[in-house]
Assembly symmetry: none
DNA sequence: GTGGTCTAGACCACG
DNA sequence: GTGGTCTAGACCACC
């Protein structure tokens, strides 16, 4: 369920955070259901529990999960988060648009690229062998 | 010509790389013209020559400049670079589109956001048109 | 009578302690009356008896209740407790005042904030007056 | 300059965060000045660098400092933070007021306590021997 | 030298 | 069993 790319420059804990967010957005991790325990998930991904701990900390700070000592971590209210996530995306798109302008890409061309980007998504980065497979739900 | 933001979390060499790319795209640094020398540029920006060295290394690796031993570095073929840069942008947009899909944003909505992003770019304290000069070429 | 919020980050035993203190302050649990037995209360709240045990331990340590071996736990002298509780609050307020001073808040401003805090307490989704009952005494 | 109370139940990194915030608010750590390095501060306080790292991470997240890899950490814009801090304080006071109401403290009494708290601040918790002294500026 | 990430292993509070 | 904190020591990217 979670693929780690050890070759990726992004830190592992961030990859975990992002992937778990996706799983919630997709409804695979349901609201108020219990998250895998820090230790279990760490074992399944063959990484250190501290790394998972940090990922969970991030998720809690961002409101995606809530944790209770001695009981576990649980999926938070997803509806509220979806809008926040959307705003975040708008900001990223804004940055990209700005970049496009500086290299002389006009509006029409930019929109064309965007449309084509949305339509033809071929799994970026064909699975490169070194990736790890873990956590079969 | 180059503005460094020391408060920016991005490494300095990366800021230099990006800004130099822009200057080429805008035609301010012309094809086959000579780049400023490493030590000169370093002095003008008041940063370590190693940092410029690294920036130039990056630019060469990406094909933006070519160096001739004993003579200096020169701007590469801009036309080729512009297409490369555009492809890079397409890839980024693709990633964003993929992300949008996972949280349930449909095509129409995505395009609307993209258009709005291109049109209404208000950047906090942006100096557009007449940029500040930290280095006179 | 006691509402537990499993989503609250505070430990359950602490929620129980606080709520029982309130019930005494409000006179709902009367002086020298018998407290519910550990196992009864645990069953009614559907939580582990150990948790109630710990809550009672805390209450006894703080002087809110006293236990008689073989007979049970009983509510202590409320008058004494009220003053203790008030002192505790004074200490907290003192800490807050100290903090206020360090960031340059003057007396007038501090008092204004305090007054406004006492008057306008709008709690999100607060059930005031007729609270929900999780346990009928 | 920074006192750690190892007996305090609050985690060390949090004590460090709070103390550093105070030092900024008091102007002892000036805007845009460089913070002590992670390793140095850790050594001076005789704690693990990771703990300082975490404290700095918190401070950066909250906007109190900004960090640049390879250069160091620097004090951020304090003016903006002061207002945020004040709002946070209002919230705390609100919680305290609510608590006061539940135990039957009326408005007049609450205000009296608040005033007295602001006036007579005797350093809470006389230095208890076990505290550590470190980081003489 | 700097900050940032990760691992390994430990201890604590909570249920 | 759970999450949370801390230590010790390592490696990396950056300047």
């Amino acid at each position: 369920m979670i693929l780690l790319d050890l070759k990726d420059s992004r830190p592992i804990y961030e990859q975990v955070v992002e992937r778990l967010q996706e799983l919630m957005m997709l409804g695979i991790l349901e609201e108020d259901s219990q998250m895998p325990s820090v230790r279990n998930l760490a074992m399944e991904l063959s990484i250190n529990p501290n790394t998972i701990q940090r990922a969970y900390g991030e998720l809690e700070r961002r409101g995606y999960i809530y944790s209770v000592k001695g009981r576990g971590s649980f999926v938070g209210s997803i509806r509220k988060l979806r809008t926040a996530k959307k705003e975040e995306m708008e900001k990223k798109l804004g940055g990209l648009a700005k970049e496009a302008k500086t290299i002389g890409i006009m509006r029409d061309e930019f929109m064309a690229i965007a449309g084509q980007a949305y339509d033809g998504i071929r799994e970026s980065g064909q699975i490169s062998g070194e990736e790890q497979w873990a956590m079969n739900e």
